[in-house]
């Protein structure tokens, strides 16, 4: 899956979780500070990502650094999709 599709999948998942349209975010957008994700919304986001990019992730396996920004999350998703493949 190319980076553009991954970003689009993450934005769709974020739209579901935040209950507002999310698109064309700068890649440096901070998930905690700018989008106000918390532990509850991270669980929802991971479930939504199963729908949009088909990745299965357990929250306990995440590191804080994976959730720094939209870009780091996209990198994480990309790496784990490749692992699955």
């Amino acid at each position: 899956m190319d980076q553009g599709k991954i970003i689009a999948g993450i934005e769709q998942a974020l739209s579901d979780v935040l209950q507002r349209p999310v698109s064309d975010l700068p890649s440096q957008t901070r998930l905690f500070e700018d989008l106000h994700l918390d532990s509850t919304s991270i669980l929802e986001l991971l479930m939504a990502l199963e729908d949009t990019v088909g990745i299965e992730v357990d929250p306990e396996n995440l590191e804080m650094s994976d959730f720094t920004s939209l870009e780091t999350l996209a990198t994480y998703v990309s790496a784990n999709l490749n692992d699955d493949a």
């Binding site: 500070e33 669980l43 306990e60």
Partner: protein, 454 residues
């Protein structure tokens, strides 16, 4: 002289209205009670913020002039002067000499010999420690310095604050409970989700809540069977990985609300129970935003809440609990009153409003205690904040806007800008329209300070 609210609280907890309390407002208590319990799958890290910790400053307006409040950081001198200028009592503030940002305030106290010595002296003079809720840390504090607790021990608090305990209590005393189930293992969750599957398929939404989740946190909304399947797969993978199949959650049918309500009761040391107040809780997406008071209830609804308070308080007393209890209730769009959505046997947000409303909300007026989210490019001094809020702070007539917590404004000022802060305030007006106008004016004033949609 303490407020009637505080004197009554002291009478119930200490047996005398003139007792002296040392407050520590440990808003992170649930995290400690949750130790040893397994909740929903969650990351091992949490959103980096100091705002929740700084909410301890809300204790300033509950404590009396002769009481003591322990804070991680000193009270801002400008804010102290502002409170004194309003004629509000300000307690003595004690600050640990050894403070670390990654610790709770009680942990800092435990590492501060000079403060421990002062607390020991206060204990010898007859003062009592009143935490928001006792955890192992406050237990350790009282053991270390001999300052006795005004409320029960950590084990009692942990036992009675589980949502599983709350559901079982509600059923045991015969109150109308939210349709749902308690789960203490992976297999119990699987069985519940299997049994509820037809309802989920039919459009009934369910919510899974951690036994020790706080308002709006540690919960997952299930709106279709696929989400339930995903949750169970995650729980299964974790159980496989850890070899531990325990799970402490409640699963409840989602209720479409007309109103969220919050009422407070106090269980006195002699077992006496009083319903202190009922407020309307304002929430957004399950997250607490504020309280409106008074709330309009029918005589039947009020009687039902009074009855519920008696039953809930009586059972808590039988189970060893004394002190303040906040209960969340819900009035559904179908006009059904569920008198117990959640029991929080500890001080609640609304508990901290009791003295300031007595000072600032004359009979017949309405009040709204709320917080304003801020997004700030740089720290804001109290004078700058007060200057921005001048249009609401200095009003003619009965309207009042009182800043009830300043420490949360700049709590995250050490983070890369822009950072988020919160301003807590109490708004008082003659009627709901007046409150709305005052609220709008406050938001407009804050927008000049922090350009952000609220």
């Amino acid at each position: 002289m303490d407020t009637s609210y505080l004197r009554t609280l002291k009478s119930k907890l200490l047996g005398t209205p003139a007792g002296r309390l040392v407050f520590v407002c440990n808003f992170e208590a649930e995290n400690w009670w949750a130790e040893g319990y397994v909740g929903l799958p969650a990351p091992r890290f949490s959103a980096p913020t100091s705002v929740v910790g700084r909410m301890e400053e809300l204790g300033v307006l509950l404590a009396g002039a002769d009481d003591v409040l322990i804070l991680k950081h000193p009270l801002d001198p400008g804010y102290r002067e502002y409170l004194s200028g309003l004629g509000l009592p300000v307690p003595s503030v004690l600050v640990p000499e050894n403070v670390r940002p990654d610790r709770s305030t009680t942990e800092d106290v435990l590492d501060s010999p000079e403060l421990l010595r002062q607390l020991s002296a206060l204990g010898a003079e007859g003062a009592h420690l009143l935490p928001m809720g006792t955890t192992v840390l406050e237990q350790k504090l009282t053991d270390r310095c001999g300052l006795p607790l005004a409320v029960p021990d950590a084990a009692t608090f942990a036992r009675v604050n589980s949502k599983i305990y709350g559901r079982r209590l509600t059923a045991a005393v015969g109150l109308r409970g939210i349709p749902g189930d308690c789960c203490e293992s992976r297999d119990e969750l699987a069985a519940v989700l299997r049994r509820r599957r037809p309802a989920l398929t039919g459009g009934t939404r369910m919510v899974v809540k951690d036994a020790y989740g706080v308002s709006g946190k540690g919960l997952l909304l299930l709106d279709r069977p696929e989400t339930a399947d995903r949750l169970l797969r995650m729980v299964d993978r974790r159980a496989e990985r850890t070899g531990d199949d325990r799970l402490h959650v409640v699963v409840e049918e989602w209720q479409d609300k007309s109103h969220d309500l919050n009422y407070q009761l106090t269980v006195a040391g002699d077992g006496g129970i009083t319903l202190d107040f009922v407020k309307r809780a304002i929430t957004e997406n399950g997250v607490h935003k504020g309280h409106l008071m008074p709330v309009a209830l029918t005589a039947g609804q009020r009687a039902e809440l009074e009855h519920a308070a008696e039953l809930v308080g009586g059972r808590l007393y039988d189970d060893g609990y004394t002190g303040i209890v906040g209960v969340d209730a819900i009035l559904t769009t179908a006009d059904v009153l569920y008198p117990v959505l959640e029991i929080n046997a500890r001080l609640n947000m609304s508990s901290y409003q009791g003295s300031v409303t007595e000072h600032c909300q004359p009979p017949g007026l309405v009040a709204f205690a709320r917080h304003y989210p801020l997004r700030l490019p740089a720290p804001v001094g109290f004078d700058e904040l007060a200057g921005a809020l001048a249009p609401v702070l200095h009003r003619d007539g009965p309207e009042r806007f009182i800043i009830t917590c300043f420490g949360t404004v700049n709590a995250d000022a050490d983070r890369p800008p822009p950072f988020d802060g919160r301003l807590y305030a109490l708004l008082v007006a003659e009627d709901q329209a007046g409150l709305t106008a005052l609220d709008d004016a406050a938001r407009a004033a804050l927008a000049h300070l922090a350009p952000r949609e609220h």
